[in-house]
Amino acid sequence: MKAKESFFISLLLVFILVILQSTLFYFAVSKVVIPDFALIVVAFCGARKGMQEGQLLGFFNGLAEDFMTASFPGFNALIKTIIGFLAGTIKNKMLFDPVIFPSLFIFFVTLLKGTLAAVTAYLFFPEGYFPAVFSSSFLMEIVLNSLFAPIIYLILKKTHLIPYDIWGGK
């Protein structure tokens, strides 16, 4: 699959996941805690295909979330851009096994998301607008994201949206 083609398919996948997260998963799976599938895709695409793809996917993922929610536009875009960029820095540097590393990786990525959300809210939100970052539902999200990570990693690999080899090289 060509790089551009792969990027646009990944972007479409991220948009679909964001819409599903706000509708089907919201109504059917759980209205309390929703796993962030789009974040998992962004992080894996970044880690396997580099900073450029990671940050662009992250930016558009965040922007879509910002448009659909009560958060200030730019809040999720900023967080996900940074996550995509940082995930891209490990391209070709980490060994990806099918289960443990994807889970651990997403565990830390979700933790980073919470930390960035807290810092961003502290720096840029007006007084009284602090979102519930480190709550029990966020801890649940960390667990759910880590559990779903190997499955999504496998799907991305099988659909060739990320390279098949364990090092992520071309």
Binding site: T23, G62, L63, D66, F67, G74, F124
Partner: protein
């Protein structure tokens, strides 16, 4: 081997990163510290709500089709009981008309004029927040139906008007509602029975006079006070769950259990209040 990231090698990536971060921060600062509505957000909300609407409607179609067989079975039973109720309501309607006539006559005699006329705009919940930091709700009506920012949103729980939250973002065909569970929302409230005032914020009622401690208890009802005009009065918020307050503090802190079950919320009403001139 773990190597560092060379700026020269990844110059393009770093420039893109800088541009995206600047854009994000720019949007964030612009929207967080100004009251001007952000047009791209409204366009984006409209765009994504199209898909949300489509998915929710498709889901409802399938669930309703599956449920229609058992529904038919119940219809016959319900029909018979409704016939009985209908006869009762006919009688009640006559009484009501009589009372209304009497009421308007008395109002006229007292020179009382209604100040507010509230229009309820019905809407369906078509989506929720994608992350767990905020708990907003997306509804399927927007400015095209007259919905404006800051309008209160209610739902009917067991026949009672109960407060859901307020509109925080409006596009042409959808709107984002911030629920009363959100800590950034402040609702002037009053204890229904003993009329002690307070401020509900994130399901906690603060600034309740300490005098109330001997009179109020768990289970007491909390309603909107209508104070400052942001919400109409007498809309149910919830029940008192617990009462706390240190001895040296001048006010009490009441934890509230909301009437609205936000996990099962499907239909809401946006309140459009047209304030008439007082004469």
């Amino acid at each position: 081997m773990f190597k560092g990231i060379s700026f020269r090698k990844h110059k393009k990536d770093f420039i893109t990163f800088f541009v995206l971060v600047t854009l994000s921060i720019g949007m964030l600062v612009y929207t967080a510290f100004s009251d001007i509505s952000f047009k791209p957000k409204q366009v984006g909300l409209d765009f994504f709500s199209l898909f949300q609407r489509g998915i929710v409607n498709t889901g409802k179609f399938f669930s309703q089709t599956a449920g229609s067989i058992s529904e038919l079975r119940n219809l016959k039973k319900e029909y018979n009981s409704l016939l009985k109720e209908y006869a009762e309501y006919q009688q009640m309607k006559q009484d009501y008309e009589h009372l209304e006539q009497e009421n308007s006559m008395l109002k006229e005699q007292l020179g009382y004029l209604e100040k507010d006329s509230i229009t309820k705009i019905p809407a369906t919940v078509i989506g929720g927040d994608t992350n767990n930091f905020f708990k907003s709700i997306v509804i399927n009506q927007g400015s095209s139906k007259g919905i404006k920012k800051d309008m209160p949103v209610i739902a009917y729980v067991d026949g009672y008007q109960s407060l859901v939250g307020k509109v925080v973002e409006v596009s042409s065909y959808s709107a984002v509602v911030k629920p009363i569970t959100d800590r950034s929302l402040y609702v002037p409230a009053v204890l229904q029975k003993f009329r002690y005032r307070g401020l509900v914020n994130g399901l906690v009622m603060d600034f309740v006079s300490r005098e109330a401690s001997n009179r109020i208890g768990c289970g007491d009802l909390v309603v909107t006070s209508g104070f400052n005009g942001s919400y109409p009065d007498n809309i149910y918020i919830g029940k008192v769950k617990s009462i706390s307050g240190k001895e040296y503090e001048t006010s009490l802190r009441l934890e509230i259990e909301p009437f609205v079950d936000f996990l099962r919320l499907e239909y809401v009403f946006v309140l459009d209040r047209e304030v008439k001139d007082e004469s």
